[in-house]
């Protein structure tokens, strides 16, 4: 019996390894081919590179305007995520502690709105913000991310704020804290694990988002990383090397972060889905 169990567990590991290999092999091939010359890519895409053509990378870095796009992506993701977490936590706290009919209906409206897909909003959104001359502006995009992202964040925070004992806040108030101080000194720190979950979900969404920024940021200088990758692919089809390099460059920052924060990212997705 014991031996049988051991054997099946080895079979499972082998089976899983095969599936994992299929999952990972596209990335490995991409990495190999990103340093090959164009003729080597077409004649032998499966082999390790024999000679290294690093100019692929310098072409991609240059033509994609990589560092600029990277900086745009960082600014947009950082501020959107920061504002969503902070404002959503405040709103959720207010809704839980001031349980009026008005607040209940507002909360319900926000939860119900989560079923509306972006595609049902995008056309009027572009029209409204276009006529206000707010397209091509990072801060307008960040504002939109707050609008689209706050419902889910408030929903997740709402559940956790309810679990914070009211006495904790009352004690702080008796000690002389104003409601605002109570929130920042007591409530927000207690909500830290939830904030981590929400941050992870939002970073994955905003860093990789394509459709919304492609509609809002038309000016090449404003492009985020996904936009500049897409644009580079559309305009530069002469040879494969730089294209492969551009993909590696846009994957690279995420994978580096994943190596260090892998455990937290998977935990964040787990907690975000269980609700």
């Amino acid at each position: 019996m014991q031996r049988f169990k051991k054997q099946t567990s080895w079979l499972t590991i082998i089976g899983l390894s095969v599936i994992l290999f299929i999952f990972i092999v596209p990335f490995v091939l991409l990495l190999f081919n990103s340093v090959k010359a164009n003729k080597d890519i077409t004649s032998s895409p499966l082999t390790l590179p024999t000679s290294f053509v690093f100019s692929n990378y310098s072409i991609a870095l240059d033509k994609m305007n990589y560092f600029h796009a990277f900086a745009n992506s960082v600014i947009i993701t950082l501020f959107s995520v920061l504002f969503i977490s902070l404002f959503a936590a405040m709103t959720a706290h207010y809704f839980v502690r001031h349980d009026t009919k008005f607040n209940q209906y507002t909360f319900l409206l926000m939860v119900a709105s989560m079923i509306i897909p972006f595609q049902a909003i995008m056309i009027p959104l572009v029209k409204i913000y276009g006529s206000l001359n707010m397209l091509n502006n990072k801060w307008a995009l960040i504002f939109m991310y707050i609008g689209f992202g706050c419902s889910l964040a408030i929903f997740i925070y709402h559940g956790f704020v309810k679990s914070i004992p009211k006495e904790l806040e009352e004690a702080a108030m008796i000690d002389g804290c104003t409601p605002t101080q109570t929130f920042f000194r007591i409530v927000f720190p207690v909500l830290m694990p939830t904030t981590a979950t929400i941050t992870i979900l939002n970073v994955l969404w905003i860093w990789n988002d394509f459709l919304l920024p492609s509609l809002v940021l038309v000016d090449p200088l404003q492009r985020t990383l996904p936009l500049s990758t897409f644009n580079f692919y559309g305009t530069y089809t002469v040879d494969y090397g730089p294209l492969m390099a551009s993909l590696v460059l846009s994957i690279f920052p995420v994978v580096i972060i994943y190596l260090f924060a892998q455990k937290y990212i998977i935990q964040g997705v787990m907690q975000g889905s269980v609700k």
Partner: protein, 294 residues
């Protein structure tokens, strides 16, 4: 918490705590949504500053737009296959990766990897795999199935979209199923073993019924993502060859922003939203009925 402060300071507190989110929410979700409903009754072309009301004409055009219904049908087929394959594979992986194998967190991390990247990058990677790597292998090893690119064949191009979606989302749903499986209480499974239940019985009679909440979440997410897919569609097939893989989201985009038929485009977006809302709500409603208590 009875505070004896004035109306003014209470209002200030409310504005500080709920003002930023409510303002952004109304300005970005509610106003465009309502304005979008108004737009479906106009003939705006995207350039002129004025538009005139045309009544239900746009909705009439939606029902006559054969391409919209063709891409909607294709999307239904796509959703059906992706939802089934994603969830079967994800559940299987989650089941195998909660048995305490060596290196199971390494495996989980590997399967999750595609979810860190956006659809555009994933689409381009697979374009290379389907156009170059598989064709190269097909020709060298004489596998007829791969000797021409799947992306240039109208029937096979559809399956490339399904394959990439399964590859992309299986890891994400796996993580949710892992959370569900670790939440199944061990003592009742043990009790079942003592009563003589085998692995299959325990799985179908205990584990799966207790996991209904995870199934609800995963099927809901994969339904929604399936209906709304755009990035991978754009980067991998661009709707081609010959519009054979133009899924409904891409059709709406083309209608509005390329054909400059904003009224009809928005009407199609709303019709799509209503259909998807009904499908997902029905799914949640009926599967909630299957929930059991441990």
């Amino acid at each position: 918490m009875v505070t004896d402060k004035g109306v003014w300071s209470r209002l200030r507190l409310r504005l500080l705590f709920t003002g930023p989110t409510l303002f952004a929410f109304i300005a970005v979700m509610i106003v465009p949504f309502l304005y979008g409903i108004y737009l479906t009754f106009t003939n705006w072309d995207g350039i002129s500053t004025t538009q005139s009301l045309v009544g239900f004409q746009n909705y009439g055009s939606v029902f006559k737009d054969a391409e919209f219904w063709k891409s909607f049908g294709l999307t239904l087929k796509y959703v059906l296959f992706t939802v089934v394959f994603i969830n079967v594979l994800a559940f299987l992986l989650a089941y195998l990766l909660t048995k305490g194998l060596k290196g199971q967190s390494f495996f989980r991390a590997g399967f999750f990897l595609p979810n860190l990247l956006g659809g555009i990058v994933l689409g381009f990677i697979w374009q290379f795999i389907f156009n170059n790597v598989l064709v190269f292998m097909g020709q060298k090893m004489g596998i007829g199935l791969f000797s021409t690119s799947w992306l240039s064949d109208p029937n096979r191009a559809f399956w490339t979209l399904v394959i990439v979606a399964v590859w992309q989302y299986a890891g994400y749903m796996m993580v949710i199923y892992v959370a569900g499986l670790t939440g199944v209480p061990g003592d009742i499974l043990e009790a079942a073993s003592i009563d003589g239940a085998n692995g299959w019985l325990k799985m179908t009679r205990m584990t799966i019924p207790l996991m209904v909440p995870s199934f609800i979440v995963c099927i809901f997410l994969s339904l929604q993502r399936g209906f709304m897919v755009y990035d991978v569609n754009l980067a991998l097939t661009k709707g081609g060859p010959f519009k054979s893989t133009e899924l409904v989201s891409m059709h709406v985009y083309q209608k509005a922003f390329l054909s400059r038929d904003y009224g009809v485009g928005q009407a199609e977006a709303l019709v799509l939203f209503l259909i998807v809302a009904v499908i997902t709500l029905l799914q949640v409603y009926f599967s909630k009925k299957m929930e059991v208590e441990a």
